[in-house]
Amino acid sequence: MKIIYFAWLRQKTGVSEEDASPPETVTDVAGLTGWLKGRGGGFAEAFDDLSVVRAAVNQEHVGMDHAVSAGDEVAFFPPVTGG
């Protein structure tokens, strides 16, 4: 699973992109954030308040209950501020 971080999530985690293999118990976005938070440090900080975290799976906006699996590209970012 490819995981990408943008804006302050990238800064807090210190990672812009990684290949990760979460355990089989991680089946949705919420589960993934929990697993990442469990790493502690900047990851715990980045995923501390999920109300300001948005996710995309395979480049589509999704909710926290959206399924994730091994081949997916998952991105985490704050609410968008373009335009």
Binding site: A7, Q59, A75, P78, P79, V80, T81, G82, G83
Partner: protein
């Protein structure tokens, strides 16, 4: 047409190319977004626009397609820049062309409203106090929400 680019764009040339030889166009509505000199009450030195290559293009293409489904449009254009920008610089151009002016106005307004809440761009603002990620505005969410129901009253995400 969708373009995501670092470099500036020439509004006059883009609008001329948009209309081209299409003589069915009665009105073109264009919106140009510019970097303002103030950010959260402090003078802005510059901003850096980060985006999600790949998803950005998909998101803009989907917004454009939605606009074309809702209004009878002859031509549409979205250009969005990324990278470092200074006050006064152009950030985004949205232009829509239609036989009728109201379709051009509404669709252009719709595209920029949806872009503001759906296109994966993030602004890092540099002021005298340091660099801060811009907060999403509630007013942008409200502006986008105005368009959540289509003509048939179907709820759209």
């Amino acid at each position: 047409m969708i373009r995501v680019q670092r470099q500036d764009f020439d509004v006059g040339a883009e609008l001329a190319a948009l209309s081209g030889d299409n003589r069915g166009i009665g009105g073109v509505c264009a919106f140009v977004g510019l970097v303002r000199e103030m950010a959260g009450g402090e003078p802005l030195r510059s901003m850096s626009l980060e985006h999600y290559p790949g998803m950005t293009e998909k998101a803009l293409a989907r917004i454009e397609a939605e606009a074309r489904e809702r209004w009878p449009l002859e031509e549409t254009l979205i250009i969005h820049r990324y990278g470092k920008l200074e006050p006064g610089e152009r950030i985004v151009l949205v232009a829509t062309a239609s036989a009728r002016r109201q379709a051009a106005f509404e669709s252009c307004n719709f595209i920029i409203d949806w872009l503001k809440t759906k296109a994966p761009f993030w602004k890092l603002e540099q002021t005298g106090g340091g660099a801060e990620w811009a907060d999403a505005r509630d007013s942008d969410g409200a502006a986008a929400a105005r368009w959540f129901r289509d003509a048939k009253g179907k709820q759209l995400d």
